[in-house]
Symmetry: C2
């Protein structure tokens, strides 16, 4: 899209950089000998999915039945729904499982019982393990519960117990490559310790699946797992640059926003671009909560992320950017500015309609 | 929709309560003798628009050209776009102005110059005044600038200078009826002082337009203004109950979410309902940032907002709710829970697709 044609807040994807991000991660997985099952919740786009296919990707991850159905309709036939299975969608999930290789997640006995009663199609089941993030999954040290769940799964003929899956989302809480790698090591060791217990109990095959963009970005040796599932890395975002997962130049997404107000007295500009466009996800920057930063661009490519020009406020449709004088003096009402969103998954979800 | 049919995060509107909220505000405006121009950005729905028509509403407010075009296509022909006019949409805005009575906002000389050059259709123009919120508009004490802008507008034959418009959004930062009323009084006095200056300068008609849900909810005497533009009040939300704009029972919106995980050890449940459903807008509750609270329901009506069961975390698709033991013990995986969102405008925008 030409800049002159942009009238409203518009998602700008740097295809070349996104393809480079995909290639880099696909190469890393290949070199490490692990399955690459990228998470498609970030882009939710059949078009972008093709960029992954071009790198030989054939298995994917999503976070809802709806996304799984969308990608199945676009030719993907090996999909894991990396979300605790929603018992209210079992009929639809079962129908999908009759069409493609479908993997689902469980973390409770009640759920396995429901699957046993209500599902008759073959389905691969992963046990979701909480290795420290504290959201979903059985806590890794609840060994007895994990063994029981695995046994319960093995007793249901149409369910295949595939292995242990984790999302080490606490990697988002640390900063810098070393700290991220420490999260990866600890999380993976915990996953392995559970696998060892299960193998000792007589289980034959217990795969390990892990995946979060910070860890998968800075770790190269994935020898200890069978599968990685990062998603955000396709575009990265301001949050990932702050965590230390990527460089500014690797960020492949911005949101082009019209300038609708200039307030030199407050060193602020007002953009058409609010919470319904960027989402209200935020990241801490020098002690302040910001929703994004202005970027200097060369076409669709980011040259510099201007951390001295943060988005400090978002209403439904308005954004407020605090800007230094060089930016203030260069802008007029009606100009476009480009915002690197705090969290690309959320901003893309807002703007992909 | 029957509860058994709900499979995914679903917006639940209590029509009876929403209609009562509309009637109450319409009655207040009528009794006060001011024009009621409700903001439709909260619901963005032609169906809900009909509920306003049923109360005699014929003039509305929106916050984007896109919304204005949508409602124009649904029979509304008196619309103000209460957002600094976006110069990149002038062609479309002009086309719309040829079909309906369109009001727009300006707050800079550069914008008026652009309108003068590029617009030929009649348009009503409001000067946006900042009465203390600090987002858009000319600051109320910049009298010279305001006079110049009004003169500049009067010199453009196809533009009609309609008056002064403000959004006292800082009413969201206070708590309790008295504090909200103080915001209203101060904001309105500032608007009036600007009007007095303009009348002294020879301007004939200078209408005053104000509108924010907290002020319009607790103020009854609107004698000092000509028009009110609240929007959120149609549904209200958790934020408005905390501000003191409404009672819990007046909240007309919840989001039904399937329970996908129960973690008694952490007193937490996991729901299918994340940032893409509830938005990541939050409100402070007893010192903590929360994204909503669980509600006890009677059909679509809220009986009690359980502030002891707050949504403490939101990922893209997951929500984490901290729950007391009575709720924990009553729930099973696969049940539905109802969440009062922190900010209904944002949650409705997420879920209205």
């Amino acid at each position: 899209m030409k800049e002159n044609d942009i009238q409203r807040p518009t998602l700008i994807i740097n295809e070349e950089q996104a393809r480079a991000n995909i290639k880099r991660m696909a190469d890393k997985a290949r070199n490490a000998g692990v399955r690459f099952r990228p998470h498609f919740k970030t882009h939710q786009s059949a078009l972008v999915g093709q960029w992954f296919k071009d790198q030989g990707v054939s298995s994917i991850t999503v976070s809802s039945y709806s996304m799984a159905a969308y990608f199945a309709d676009h030719g993907w036939n090996d999909i894991t729904i990396a979300f605790p299975i929603n018992l209210r969608e079992l009929d639809a999930i079962q129908e999908l499982a009759s069409r493609i290789e479908l993997g689902v997640l469980v973390d409770s006995s009640a759920t396995v019982s429901a699957l046993e009663k209500q599902i008759s199609r073959p389905m691969r089941v992963w046990l979701k393990i909480d290795t420290g993030y504290g959201r979903s999954g059985v806590h890794w040290d609840q060994t007895e519960q994990i063994i029981q769940l695995a046994r319960q799964l093995n007793e249901v003929s149409h369910l295949t117990f595939r292995g242990l899956l984790t999302h080490a989302g606490h990697s988002y809480h640390v900063r810098g490559s070393e700290a991220i790698q420490a999260v990866y090591r600890e999380s993976t060791q915990r996953l392995q310790s559970v696998r060892t217990v299960l193998l000792d109990e007589g289980f034959r095959t217990v795969e390990l699946s892990t995946g979060d963009t910070p860890c998968c970005s800075v770790v190269y040796d994935f020898a200890d797992v069978d599968e990685i599932r990062p998603g955000n890395f396709v575009y990265y975002d301001l949050m990932q640059t702050q965590i230390g997962s990527c460089s500014d130049g690797q960020v492949a997404v911005t949101v082009a926003c019209p300038v609708v107000g200039i307030h030199p007295d407050r060193s602020e500009i007002i953009i058409y671009g609010g919470g319904v466009h960027l989402s209200k996800d935020s990241v801490e920057l020098e002690g302040h909560r910001v929703y994004g930063c202005l970027a200097e661009m060369d076409g669709n490519a980011i040259i510099t992320i201007r951390r001295d020009a943060p988005v400090t406020g978002l209403s439904q449709e308005h954004g407020v950017i605090h800007v230094p004088s060089d930016i203030l003096n260069s802008l007029q009402v009606g100009d476009l500015v480009y915002i690197v969103p705090a969290h690309s998954c959320m901003a893309v979800n807002c703007l992909r309609r």
